[in-house]
C-alpha cells in the first residue's frame, strides 16, 4: 500500500533503559501524582464503609472467618492425633490470616481496578499505576485495623511479645511489596485478557491450601517444608508467626527434630528468598505495567 511511505528522518523512538524507566515511574508518575493516589485510596475506603451495616467490623470479618475455619481444621487434626488445639496455634493462625486476607482482598480489587474504571482509563491521562496501587492501599487500611485488633488480642491468648516482634514491620512491608507487585501485574494482565480475572478468582480460592495459613510447613516433613516455602508468601507469613508468636529471631535458623528426621522450620535464607520475590516482583511488575501502559486506552 502506498500508505507506507515513511520518511527516513522521523524522530527515533525513545530508548528505554531499566533505570530511566524506574525513575520515570517513581518521579514523574507516582511522586507527582501522590495526591491522586491518596484521593483514590480515600475513595475506595469511603465507598467500602459508606452505607455498610458492618462498619469497621468489616475489616476483621474476613480474618476472623479464616481463623475460625483454621481452628476447625486444626481441631480435626488434633482429634485424630489425640491431642488438643493449643492457644498458640490459634494465635499463629490469627497472625497469618491477616496478611492472607490482605492479599486476597487487594488482589481481588486490583485485578479489576483498570477494567472497572474504563471511562477514566480511556478518557483522562494519569499514571495508571495509581489504580491497582490505590486498591492495595485501601486494603491495607482494613488490614491496619485488623492488625491493631490482633495485636490487642494476642496477649489475651497468653502470647508475650519479645524483641523479635520488631521483625513484624519489615515483614509487613515485604508482604505489601509482594501484593503490590502482583496487583500491578494482574491488573494490567486483566486489561488485555479478560479471562485473567477468572483465573485469579480460582487461584485465590484455593491458594489458602498452598500457603501456610492453617498449618506450618514443618508438618510436611523435610522435603515438603522446603516445597511449601517456595510460595513467595510462605516465608513471609511463617516468619511473621515465628517472630510474633514464638519470639524467634529470624536471623537464626530453627531446626525441629521430628519422627522422620530433622526439619528446617526456618532459615535466614527463607527471609532472603521472600525479600527477593518482594523487591524483584515489584520492580518487574512496574516495568511490565509501564511499558504496556501506552496500549491501555486502545485495548479497553
Amino acid at each position: 500500500m502506498s500508505d507506507l511511505v515513511l520518511t527516513r528522518d522521523l524522530p527515533a523512538p525513545r530508548r528505554h533503559s531499566l533505570w530511566s524507566d524506574l525513575r520515570e515511574i517513581a518521579v514523574d508518575e507516582l511522586w507527582k501524582y501522590r495526591e491522586l493516589l491518596y484521593e483514590l485510596t480515600l475513595r475506595d475506603v469511603r465507598i467500602r464503609y459508606k452505607q455498610a451495616v458492618m462498619g469497621f467490623a468489616w475489616a476483621i470479618l474476613m480474618p476472623a472467618l479464616i481463623v475460625a475455619a483454621g481452628t476447625l481444621v486444626r481441631f480435626a487434626m488434633a482429634y485424630m492425633g489425640g491431642g488438643h488445639v493449643a492457644r498458640d496455634v490459634i494465635a499463629g493462625m490469627a497472625v497469618k490470616a491477616l496478611p492472607w486476607a490482605f492479599f486476597v482482598g487487594a488482589i481481588g480489587f486490583a485485578t479489576s481496578s483498570l477494567t472497572g474504571n474504563l471511562p477514566l482509563v480511556s478518557k483522562i491521562y494519569f499514571p495508571r499505576e495509581v489504580l491497582p496501587l490505590s486498591a492495595t492501599f485501601a486494603q491495607s487500611f482494613d488490614s491496619t485495623i485488623g492488625a491493631i485488633t490482633v495485636g490487642i488480642a494476642l496477649p489475651l491468648l497468653g502470647i508475650h511479645y519479645g524483641l523479635a516482634v520488631l521483625w513484624a514491620p519489615l515483614l509487613a512491608a515485604l508482604i505489601f511489596c509482594v501484593t503490590a507487585g502482583a496487583a500491578l501485574f494482574l491488573g494490567c494482565a486483566n486489561l488485555f485478557f479478560r479471562d485473567v480475572k477468572y483465573i485469579v478468582q480460582v487461584m485465590l480460592t484455593f491458594g489458602i491450601f498452598f500457603t501456610p495459613v492453617f498449618f506450618e510447613p514443618r508438618m510436611f516433613g523435610p522435603l515438603g517444608a522446603r516445597l511449601m516455602m517456595l510460595n513467595p508468601l510462605a516465608p513471609l507469613l511463617e516468619g511473621l508467626r515465628l517472630s510474633v508468636v514464638e519470639g524467634h529471631n529470624l536471623l537464626q535458623p530453627l531446626v525441629i527434630m521430628g519422627k522422620k528426621g530433622a526439619v528446617v522450620a526456618w532459615s535466614p535464607w527463607y527471609l532472603a528468598y521472600g525479600a527477593a520475590w518482594a523487591v524483584l516482583g515489584l520492580v518487574v511488575s512496574m516495568l511490565v505495567f509501564h511499558r504496556t501502559e501506552g496500549k491501555f486506552a486502545e485495548y479497553v
Binding site: Y33, L36, P119
Partner: protein
C-alpha cells in the same frame, strides 16, 4: 507569535486495528507462538486488519495561539486529542506538551456515584492533576460556577445529568493549565449554562495559553481560533486561517454529498464575493458566479437554488431558486451572473452555496462552489438569527394625542 511552542506534534503516525483484538489468554497463545516463529508483523507495517488513523501529522501551537481542528467523522480528530493528552502513544513520531495540560474532554468521567459532590470535586480534581490545596482554594468558585451549592453534600448518584455535567465542567474549567485541549464539550447543561461555559472557554482561550480545539461547531472554531487544520482520513488536507479551513471543509463535504453525480445540463465554475469582507449585518453583499449550460436543457433544468447557510449550526438561513430571484439562464453556453443579497442576519459566519435540486429524488444533483461570508455587527440592532424588518406603531394612546404616532 510569542515564545517557544508549548504543543509540538512532529510527524505523528498512529496505527489502529479493526475488529477484535486478542482479549483472552486463549487467543494469545497461538498469536505468541506465531510471533516467536518469526512470522509476526513488523511494527511499521500494516497487517491485514490495521489502518493508519493519523498519518504524518505535524503542528505546533505557541502561547497566544489557538488551533482549531476540523474534519468529518473518522478523520482522526479525537485520536489527535488523545495523543495530545497522552492517553494514546504514537506509533511513529513525537508529540510533546510543555507544562500541565488541561483537557475539557468527558468532564465527569472520574465521578463516583456513591460519593458526594464535595468528595467528587477533590477526586476529579486530583485525577486532572490538581493539588489538594489548589482545589481547596478554588472549591467555592467551582461550586458556585456549577450552581449546585445546595446539593454539594448529596451523593452524585442523586444528581440530574445536567448537574453532573455542570459540576464536571466547572472542575475542568478551574484548573489553571499551561495548555488547553478542548473537545466538543460546549453542549453542557441548558442554554444559559452553555453560554456561561462558552464564555469561560473564551476567557481561557484569550488568556494567552496555547489552545487546541476540536469541534463540529464551525462557528466556535471561527470565533475562537487563530489557526486551523482540516483533517481528512488521518492526513492534514489544509492548514490556514479558520475561515479558509472551514471553507475547504464545506467544499469537500459538499463534493462528497453529490458523489452520486447525475448528469445535468448545468455546471458551475466559480463563485466569488465581490464586496469587501467583512460584511456588516444588514448590508448588501455582491457575488459573481459563472458557469456553463450544456446542450439539451429545458427551463426547469436550468434553474438552481441559492442558499445561505449558518456555519455555526449548519442550518439553512435562506434558500431560493434563481428564477424566483428574477434570473433566467441562457439556453446554451457559458454565463456570468451577479447576485446581491442583503444580510439581515445576526453576526456570524455564513456560506453562500449553489445547487441544482432534483424535485423527484428530492436531492441535490449538482453542488456548486461555495463562498464563506463573515458577517459582523452593523447598523441593525437586534438579537436572534434574522432581522425581520420590524415596523411598529402605537394604535391606542391617551386622548390628547388621538390618531397615534408614526
Amino acid at each position: 507569535m510569542t515564545g517557544a511552542p508549548r504543543i509540538q506534534f512532529e510527524q505523528v503516525w498512529k496505527k489502529f486495528a479493526r475488529g477484535e483484538l486478542h482479549d483472552s489468554l486463549r487467543d494469545l497463545v497461538p498469536a505468541a507462538v506465531r510471533r516467536l516463529a518469526g512470522r509476526g508483523p513488523a511494527q511499521d507495517e500494516l497487517s491485514g486488519e490495521e489502518f493508519w488513523a493519523v498519518r504524518d501529522v505535524s503542528f505546533e501551537v505557541r502561547p497566544g495561539e489557538a488551533l482549531g481542528i476540523l474534519g468529518p467523522n473518522g478523520a482522526g480528530k479525537s485520536t489527535i486529542l488523545k495523543l495530545l493528552t497522552r492517553i494514546l502513544v504514537p506509533t511513529r513520531g513525537r508529540c510533546a506538551i510543555t507544562g500541565r495540560a488541561g483537557a475539557l474532554i468527558e468532564v465527569a468521567a472520574g465521578f463516583h456515584p456513591d460519593l458526594t459532590g464535595r468528595e467528587n470535586v477533590f477526586l476529579q480534581g486530583a485525577i486532572l492533576g490538581m493539588k489538594r490545596s489548589e482545589i481547596k482554594t478554588r472549591f467555592d468558585e467551582i461550586v458556585s460556577f456549577a450552581e449546585i451549592e445546595a446539593f454539594i453534600d448529596t451523593p452524585v448518584k442523586r444528581y440530574s445529568n445536567g448537574m453532573n455535567a455542570r459540576l464536571g465542567f466547572a472542575i475542568a474549567a478551574h484548573i489553571s493549565p499551561d495548555v488547553l485541549v478542548i473537545d466538543e464539550v460546549l453542549s453542557v447543561g441548558d442554554l444559559r449554562f452553555q453560554q456561561k461555559a462558552f464564555d469561560r472557554i473564551q476567557e481561557m482561550c484569550t488568556s494567552g495559553i496555547p489552545v487546541v480545539l476540536v469541534s463540529h461547531q464551525l462557528e466556535r472554531i471561527a470565533s475562537l481560533c487563530t489557526h486551523a487544520l482540516l483533517l481528512e482520513r488521518g492526513r492534514i488536507a489544509k492548514r490556514g486561517t479558520p475561515t479558509e479551513c472551514i471553507e475547504a471543509y464545506l467544499e469537500s463535504s459538499r463534493n462528497s454529498e453529490s458523489a452520486a453525480s447525475h448528469t445535468s445540463a448545468l455546471t458551475f465554475d466559480a463563485l466569488s464575493l465581490e464586496s469587501e469582507l467583512p460584511v456588516r449585518s444588514g448590508e448588501r453583499a455582491q457575488f459573481r458566479l459563472s458557469g456553463d449550460v450544456g446542450p439539451g436543457s429545458d427551463a426547469a433544468s436550468r434553474d438552481f437554488s441559492l442558499r445561505v447557510r449558518a456555519l455555526s449550526t449548519g442550518r439553512l438561513v435562506f434558500s431560493a431558486s434563481a428564477s424566483d430571484c428574477g434570473a433566467s439562464l441562457p439556453a446554451r453556453g457559458p454565463f456570468e451572473m451577479d447576485v446581491e443579497l442583503q444580510f439581515n442576519v445576526a453576526p456570524g459566519v455564513y456560506s453562500l452555496e449553489l445547487a441544482v435540486w432534483d424535485a423527484e429524488t428530492r436531492r441535490d444533483i449538482v453542488a456548486g462552489p461555495g463562498v464563506t461570508v463573515q458577517v459582523e455587527a452593523g447598523a441593525l440592532t437586534f438579537s436572534g438569527t434574522s432581522h425581520l424588518l420590524p415596523r411598529a406603531r402605537v394604535v391606542t394612546a391617551s386622548s390628547t394625542a388621538a390618531g397615534g404616532s408614526r
